[in-house]
Protein backbone atom coordinates (compact mmCIF):
# COMPACT_ATOMS: atom_id res chain seq x y z
CA UNK A 1 0.00 0.00 0.00
CA UNK A 2 2.84 2.38 0.91
CA UNK A 3 4.58 1.58 -2.38
CA UNK A 4 1.37 2.20 -4.34
CA UNK A 5 0.86 5.47 -2.54
CA UNK A 6 4.41 6.57 -3.34
CA UNK A 7 3.90 5.59 -6.97
CA UNK A 8 0.67 7.57 -7.09
CA UNK A 9 2.45 10.51 -5.50
CA UNK A 10 5.17 10.29 -8.13
CA UNK A 11 2.61 10.17 -10.88
CA UNK A 12 0.79 13.15 -9.38
CA UNK A 13 4.05 15.06 -9.06
CA UNK A 14 4.92 14.23 -12.65
CA UNK A 15 1.51 15.33 -13.86
CA UNK A 16 1.80 18.52 -11.84
CA UNK A 17 5.24 19.24 -13.30
CA UNK A 18 3.95 18.66 -16.82
CA UNK A 19 1.06 21.02 -16.18
CA UNK A 20 3.40 23.73 -14.93
CA UNK A 21 5.57 23.31 -17.99
CA UNK A 22 2.53 23.53 -20.25
CA UNK A 23 1.28 26.65 -18.47
CA UNK A 24 4.64 28.31 -18.96
CA UNK A 25 4.54 27.47 -22.66
CA UNK A 26 0.99 28.78 -22.96
CA UNK A 27 2.10 32.01 -21.30
CA UNK A 28 4.87 32.39 -23.85
CA UNK A 29 2.49 31.71 -26.72
CA UNK A 30 0.16 34.42 -25.45
CA UNK A 31 3.13 36.79 -25.43
CA UNK A 32 3.62 36.03 -29.11
CA UNK A 33 6.29 33.35 -28.92
CA UNK A 34 5.35 31.08 -31.83
CA UNK A 35 8.24 28.71 -31.12
CA UNK A 36 6.61 27.84 -27.81
CA UNK A 37 3.63 26.57 -29.78
CA UNK A 38 5.96 24.42 -31.90
CA UNK A 39 7.18 22.85 -28.65
CA UNK A 40 3.62 22.02 -27.64
CA UNK A 41 2.86 20.59 -31.06
CA UNK A 42 5.88 18.29 -30.92
CA UNK A 43 4.98 17.29 -27.40
CA UNK A 44 1.36 16.29 -28.04
CA UNK A 45 1.00 15.60 -31.73
CA UNK A 46 1.40 11.83 -31.45
CA UNK A 47 -1.17 11.43 -28.71
CA UNK A 48 -3.65 13.77 -30.36
CA UNK A 49 -3.18 12.02 -33.68
CA UNK A 50 -3.76 8.63 -32.03
CA UNK A 51 -7.06 9.77 -30.51
CA UNK A 52 -8.32 11.24 -33.77
CA UNK A 53 -7.14 8.26 -35.80
CA UNK A 54 -8.90 5.78 -33.52
CA UNK A 55 -12.11 7.80 -33.67
CA UNK A 56 -12.09 8.27 -37.47
CA UNK A 57 -10.41 5.03 -38.57
CA UNK A 58 -8.65 6.81 -41.43
CA UNK A 59 -5.01 7.93 -41.23
CA UNK A 60 -5.26 10.63 -43.93
CA UNK A 61 -8.31 12.19 -42.34
CA UNK A 62 -6.66 11.88 -38.95
CA UNK A 63 -3.59 13.77 -40.20
CA UNK A 64 -5.70 16.63 -41.61
CA UNK A 65 -7.93 16.78 -38.56
CA UNK A 66 -4.99 16.79 -36.15
CA UNK A 67 -3.48 19.74 -38.00
CA UNK A 68 -6.83 21.48 -37.95
CA UNK A 69 -7.11 20.85 -34.21
CA UNK A 70 -3.71 22.44 -33.58
CA UNK A 71 -4.62 25.48 -35.66
CA UNK A 72 -7.84 25.86 -33.70
CA UNK A 73 -5.95 25.50 -30.46
CA UNK A 74 -3.52 28.22 -31.50
CA UNK A 75 -6.34 30.55 -32.49
CA UNK A 76 -8.16 29.90 -29.22
CA UNK A 77 -5.14 30.02 -26.94
CA UNK A 78 -6.39 33.19 -25.29
CA UNK A 79 -9.58 31.36 -24.34
CA UNK A 80 -7.69 28.64 -22.47
CA UNK A 81 -8.66 29.35 -18.89
CA UNK A 82 -6.26 26.93 -17.20
CA UNK A 83 -9.08 25.38 -15.20
CA UNK A 84 -8.15 22.05 -16.76
CA UNK A 85 -4.77 20.88 -17.95
CA UNK A 86 -3.64 22.04 -21.35
CA UNK A 87 -3.68 18.47 -22.59
CA UNK A 88 -7.32 17.97 -21.57
CA UNK A 89 -8.21 21.19 -23.36
CA UNK A 90 -6.28 20.09 -26.45
CA UNK A 91 -7.93 16.65 -26.36
CA UNK A 92 -11.31 18.36 -26.22
CA UNK A 93 -10.55 20.36 -29.36
CA UNK A 94 -9.27 17.23 -31.12
CA UNK A 95 -12.23 15.06 -30.17
CA UNK A 96 -14.72 17.76 -31.16
CA UNK A 97 -12.95 18.26 -34.48
CA UNK A 98 -13.12 14.51 -35.16
CA UNK A 99 -16.75 14.17 -34.09
CA UNK A 100 -17.81 17.19 -36.20
CA UNK A 101 -16.02 15.68 -39.17
CA UNK A 102 -17.81 12.36 -38.71
CA UNK A 103 -21.14 14.14 -38.40
CA UNK A 104 -20.61 15.94 -41.70
CA UNK A 105 -19.26 12.88 -43.51
CA UNK A 106 -21.34 10.09 -42.11
CA UNK A 107 -22.20 8.72 -45.56
CA UNK A 108 -18.68 8.92 -46.94
CA UNK A 109 -16.49 6.68 -44.85
CA UNK A 110 -13.29 5.04 -45.94
CA UNK A 111 -11.00 3.18 -43.59
CA UNK A 112 -7.28 3.51 -43.86
CA UNK A 113 -5.33 1.82 -41.16
CA UNK A 114 -2.12 2.92 -39.62
CA UNK A 115 1.07 0.86 -39.55
CA UNK A 116 1.34 -1.39 -36.54
CA UNK A 117 4.80 -1.81 -35.09
CA UNK A 118 6.59 -5.08 -34.70
CA UNK A 119 6.39 -4.89 -30.93
CA UNK A 120 2.71 -5.84 -31.19
CA UNK A 121 3.60 -8.94 -33.14
CA UNK A 122 5.35 -10.34 -30.10
CA UNK A 123 2.36 -9.90 -27.80
CA UNK A 124 0.85 -12.94 -26.19
CA UNK A 125 -2.44 -12.63 -28.02
CA UNK A 126 -0.82 -12.55 -31.43
CA UNK A 127 1.45 -15.45 -30.53
CA UNK A 128 -1.49 -17.60 -29.49
CA UNK A 129 -3.49 -16.65 -32.55
CA UNK A 130 -0.58 -17.51 -34.81
CA UNK A 131 -0.28 -20.89 -33.15
CA UNK A 132 -4.01 -21.52 -33.40
CA UNK A 133 -4.37 -20.57 -37.06
CA UNK A 134 -0.97 -21.75 -38.20
CA UNK A 135 -0.28 -18.41 -39.86
CA UNK A 136 2.70 -16.09 -39.44
CA UNK A 137 2.58 -13.38 -36.82
CA UNK A 138 2.60 -10.43 -39.24
CA UNK A 139 -0.42 -11.71 -41.16
CA UNK A 140 -2.24 -12.61 -37.97
CA UNK A 141 -1.51 -9.20 -36.54
CA UNK A 142 -2.84 -7.45 -39.66
CA UNK A 143 -6.06 -9.45 -39.53
CA UNK A 144 -6.48 -8.74 -35.83
CA UNK A 145 -5.88 -5.03 -36.41
CA UNK A 146 -8.52 -5.02 -39.14
CA UNK A 147 -11.02 -6.82 -36.92
CA UNK A 148 -10.40 -4.47 -33.99
CA UNK A 149 -10.83 -1.38 -36.15
CA UNK A 150 -13.95 -2.69 -37.84
CA UNK A 151 -15.50 -3.46 -34.45
CA UNK A 152 -14.59 -0.04 -33.12
CA UNK A 153 -16.09 1.68 -36.18
CA UNK A 154 -19.39 -0.13 -35.60
CA UNK A 155 -19.87 1.88 -32.42
CA UNK A 156 -21.48 5.31 -32.59
CA UNK A 157 -18.93 8.16 -32.56
CA UNK A 158 -19.66 9.23 -28.99
CA UNK A 159 -19.32 5.65 -27.67
CA UNK A 160 -16.20 5.14 -29.72
CA UNK A 161 -14.66 8.33 -28.29
CA UNK A 162 -15.19 7.14 -24.73
CA UNK A 163 -13.65 3.71 -25.41
CA UNK A 164 -10.68 5.24 -27.22
CA UNK A 165 -10.00 7.71 -24.41
CA UNK A 166 -10.35 5.12 -21.66
CA UNK A 167 -8.94 1.89 -23.08
CA UNK A 168 -6.38 3.14 -25.59
CA UNK A 169 -5.34 6.52 -24.21
CA UNK A 170 -5.63 5.53 -20.57
CA UNK A 171 -7.58 8.53 -19.31
CA UNK A 172 -9.69 8.10 -16.19
CA UNK A 173 -13.41 8.83 -15.95
CA UNK A 174 -12.90 12.34 -14.56
CA UNK A 175 -10.52 13.31 -17.32
CA UNK A 176 -12.85 11.89 -19.98
CA UNK A 177 -15.75 13.84 -18.48
CA UNK A 178 -13.64 17.02 -18.72
CA UNK A 179 -12.73 16.30 -22.32
CA UNK A 180 -16.26 15.50 -23.42
CA UNK A 181 -17.85 18.11 -21.16
CA UNK A 182 -20.30 15.65 -19.69
CA UNK A 183 -20.81 14.07 -16.28
CA UNK A 184 -18.79 11.12 -15.01
CA UNK A 185 -22.03 9.15 -14.87
CA UNK A 186 -22.52 9.69 -18.59
CA UNK A 187 -18.95 8.56 -19.22
CA UNK A 188 -19.44 5.35 -17.22
CA UNK A 189 -22.76 4.63 -18.90
CA UNK A 190 -21.38 5.12 -22.42
CA UNK A 191 -18.28 3.10 -21.57
CA UNK A 192 -20.32 0.21 -20.25
CA UNK A 193 -22.54 0.13 -23.33
CA UNK A 194 -19.59 0.40 -25.72
CA UNK A 195 -17.65 -2.37 -23.99
CA UNK A 196 -20.62 -4.72 -24.11
CA UNK A 197 -20.94 -4.09 -27.82
CA UNK A 198 -17.25 -4.72 -28.43
CA UNK A 199 -17.21 -7.89 -26.36
CA UNK A 200 -19.95 -9.32 -28.51
CA UNK A 201 -18.18 -8.34 -31.72
CA UNK A 202 -14.82 -9.75 -30.60
CA UNK A 203 -16.14 -12.92 -29.02
CA UNK A 204 -14.11 -15.16 -31.33
CA UNK A 205 -10.92 -14.03 -29.56
CA UNK A 206 -12.17 -15.10 -26.18
CA UNK A 207 -9.94 -18.19 -26.01
CA UNK A 208 -6.82 -16.21 -26.88
CA UNK A 209 -7.10 -13.72 -24.13
CA UNK A 210 -7.22 -15.94 -21.11
CA UNK A 211 -5.85 -13.89 -18.24
CA UNK A 212 -4.02 -15.64 -15.40
Amino acid sequence: MAITKTRDDLLDAEASGIQEEDRALVGRIRDGDVKAFDVLVKKYRERLYAVIYNITGNREDASDLTQEAFIRAYRSILKFKEQSSFFTWLYRIGVNTALNFLRKNRFRRFFSFENIDEEAASSEIVEKLAVKTGGDRTTVLKELQEKLNESLQKLSPKHRAVVVLFEIEGLNHTEIANVLKCSEGTVRSRLHYAKEELKALLQEYQDLCKMP
Binding site: V41, R45, E46, Y49, A50, Y53, N54, R59, S63, T66, Q67, E68, F70, I71, Y74, F113, E114, N115, I116, D117, E119, A120, S123, E124, I125, V126, L144, Q145, L148, N149, L152, V163, E167, I168, K195, E196, L198, K199, A200, L202, Q203, E204, Y205, Q206, C209, K210, M211
Partner: protein, 150 residues
Protein backbone atom coordinates in the same frame (compact mmCIF):
# COMPACT_ATOMS: atom_id res chain seq x y z
CA UNK B 1 -22.08 -21.18 -26.46
CA UNK B 2 -19.03 -19.04 -26.10
CA UNK B 3 -18.74 -16.77 -23.13
CA UNK B 4 -18.33 -13.12 -23.96
CA UNK B 5 -14.97 -11.51 -23.38
CA UNK B 6 -14.19 -10.21 -19.95
CA UNK B 7 -13.20 -6.60 -19.34
CA UNK B 8 -9.57 -7.59 -18.98
CA UNK B 9 -9.61 -9.58 -22.20
CA UNK B 10 -11.18 -6.69 -24.08
CA UNK B 11 -8.63 -4.30 -22.58
CA UNK B 12 -5.78 -6.58 -23.69
CA UNK B 13 -7.10 -6.61 -27.27
CA UNK B 14 -7.72 -2.87 -27.44
CA UNK B 15 -4.26 -2.14 -26.00
CA UNK B 16 -2.82 -3.60 -29.20
CA UNK B 17 -4.04 -0.44 -30.91
CA UNK B 18 -1.41 1.48 -28.95
CA UNK B 19 1.10 -0.06 -31.34
CA UNK B 20 -0.53 1.62 -34.32
CA UNK B 21 1.87 4.46 -34.99
CA UNK B 22 3.07 6.28 -38.07
CA UNK B 23 6.77 6.22 -38.87
CA UNK B 24 9.18 9.16 -38.44
CA UNK B 25 8.80 10.41 -42.04
CA UNK B 26 5.08 10.95 -41.44
CA UNK B 27 5.86 13.63 -38.85
CA UNK B 28 8.21 15.50 -41.17
CA UNK B 29 5.38 15.84 -43.68
CA UNK B 30 2.92 16.57 -40.90
CA UNK B 31 4.98 19.48 -39.56
CA UNK B 32 5.50 21.11 -42.95
CA UNK B 33 1.81 20.72 -43.85
CA UNK B 34 0.81 22.20 -40.51
CA UNK B 35 3.00 25.26 -41.11
CA UNK B 36 1.52 25.69 -44.61
CA UNK B 37 -2.02 25.42 -43.34
CA UNK B 38 -1.36 27.80 -40.47
CA UNK B 39 0.08 30.37 -42.87
CA UNK B 40 -2.73 30.09 -45.41
CA UNK B 41 -5.23 30.24 -42.58
CA UNK B 42 -3.59 33.45 -41.36
CA UNK B 43 -3.80 34.98 -44.88
CA UNK B 44 -7.38 33.89 -45.25
CA UNK B 45 -8.19 35.37 -41.86
CA UNK B 46 -6.69 38.72 -42.88
CA UNK B 47 -8.58 38.72 -46.19
CA UNK B 48 -11.73 37.84 -44.36
CA UNK B 49 -11.18 40.79 -42.00
CA UNK B 50 -10.58 43.17 -44.92
CA UNK B 51 -13.65 41.84 -46.74
CA UNK B 52 -15.64 42.31 -43.53
CA UNK B 53 -14.66 45.98 -43.19
CA UNK B 54 -15.26 46.68 -46.89
CA UNK B 55 -18.68 45.11 -46.63
CA UNK B 56 -19.46 47.15 -43.54
CA UNK B 57 -18.38 50.37 -45.26
CA UNK B 58 -20.49 49.53 -48.32
CA UNK B 59 -23.53 48.91 -46.16
CA UNK B 60 -23.08 52.25 -44.37
CA UNK B 61 -22.41 54.28 -47.53
CA UNK B 62 -24.97 52.67 -49.81
CA UNK B 63 -27.94 54.76 -48.60
CA UNK B 64 -26.10 58.05 -49.24
CA UNK B 65 -24.40 56.93 -52.46
CA UNK B 66 -26.92 58.54 -54.88
CA UNK B 67 -26.77 61.92 -53.09
CA UNK B 68 -22.97 61.77 -52.87
CA UNK B 69 -22.70 60.86 -56.53
CA UNK B 70 -25.00 63.70 -57.51
CA UNK B 71 -22.93 66.19 -55.53
CA UNK B 72 -19.77 64.88 -57.16
CA UNK B 73 -21.26 65.28 -60.64
CA UNK B 74 -22.48 68.79 -59.81
CA UNK B 75 -19.05 69.78 -58.60
CA UNK B 76 -17.44 68.51 -61.80
CA UNK B 77 -19.95 70.36 -63.97
CA UNK B 78 -19.51 73.63 -62.08
CA UNK B 79 -15.74 73.36 -62.29
CA UNK B 80 -16.02 72.79 -66.03
CA UNK B 81 -18.36 75.72 -66.56
CA UNK B 82 -16.15 78.12 -64.59
CA UNK B 83 -13.26 77.23 -66.90
CA UNK B 84 -9.46 77.11 -66.69
CA UNK B 85 -7.13 80.06 -65.68
CA UNK B 86 -6.00 80.63 -69.28
CA UNK B 87 -9.58 80.86 -70.41
CA UNK B 88 -10.28 83.26 -67.56
CA UNK B 89 -7.36 85.52 -68.62
CA UNK B 90 -8.63 85.64 -72.22
CA UNK B 91 -12.03 86.49 -70.89
CA UNK B 92 -10.58 89.32 -68.77
CA UNK B 93 -8.76 90.81 -71.76
CA UNK B 94 -11.93 90.68 -73.79
CA UNK B 95 -13.76 92.46 -70.97
CA UNK B 96 -11.08 95.16 -70.82
CA UNK B 97 -11.25 95.73 -74.57
CA UNK B 98 -14.97 96.10 -74.31
CA UNK B 99 -14.50 98.54 -71.46
CA UNK B 100 -11.99 100.60 -73.39
CA UNK B 101 -14.20 100.70 -76.47
CA UNK B 102 -17.13 101.79 -74.37
CA UNK B 103 -15.29 104.77 -72.93
CA UNK B 104 -16.77 108.22 -73.69
CA UNK B 105 -14.17 109.72 -76.07
CA UNK B 106 -15.28 113.32 -75.56
CA UNK B 107 -15.03 113.10 -71.81
CA UNK B 108 -11.56 111.66 -71.95
CA UNK B 109 -10.44 114.43 -74.34
CA UNK B 110 -11.64 117.13 -71.99
CA UNK B 111 -9.94 115.43 -69.08
CA UNK B 112 -6.73 115.26 -71.05
CA UNK B 113 -6.97 118.99 -71.87
CA UNK B 114 -7.51 119.81 -68.22
CA UNK B 115 -4.56 117.72 -67.23
CA UNK B 116 -2.46 119.58 -69.79
CA UNK B 117 -3.40 122.86 -68.18
CA UNK B 118 -2.22 121.79 -64.75
CA UNK B 119 0.82 119.89 -66.02
CA UNK B 120 4.29 121.36 -66.61
CA UNK B 121 5.06 123.00 -69.96
CA UNK B 122 7.51 120.25 -70.87
CA UNK B 123 4.53 117.89 -71.26
CA UNK B 124 3.44 118.13 -74.81
CA UNK B 125 -0.21 118.07 -75.62
CA UNK B 126 -0.91 114.55 -76.73
CA UNK B 127 -4.65 114.66 -76.55
CA UNK B 128 -4.98 115.70 -80.12
CA UNK B 129 -5.51 112.78 -82.37
CA UNK B 130 -5.86 110.36 -79.55
CA UNK B 131 -6.79 106.92 -80.77
CA UNK B 132 -8.88 105.16 -78.16
CA UNK B 133 -8.86 101.77 -79.82
CA UNK B 134 -7.72 98.81 -77.82
CA UNK B 135 -4.00 98.95 -76.92
CA UNK B 136 -3.55 102.62 -77.94
CA UNK B 137 -3.71 103.85 -74.35
CA UNK B 138 -0.42 102.11 -73.78
CA UNK B 139 1.01 103.90 -76.83
CA UNK B 140 -0.17 107.26 -75.43
CA UNK B 141 1.58 106.58 -72.15
CA UNK B 142 4.78 105.69 -73.96
CA UNK B 143 4.57 108.89 -76.02
CA UNK B 144 4.04 110.89 -72.84
CA UNK B 145 7.11 109.42 -71.25
CA UNK B 146 9.15 110.17 -74.39
CA UNK B 147 8.01 113.78 -74.53
CA UNK B 148 9.02 114.37 -70.89
CA UNK B 149 12.55 113.31 -71.64
CA UNK B 150 12.89 115.70 -74.53
Amino acid sequence: MKQPLSDEQLTALLRLKRHEKPDASFWVTFDSELKEKAFSHLLQHRETRLAFWLKLMWQRLRPVMPATASLAVLFIVISHLQGTPAALATEAQADLSTLVHSLDVGKISSLARDSRLVACQSIRPLTQGIDFSAGSIVTVAEKASLSTRF
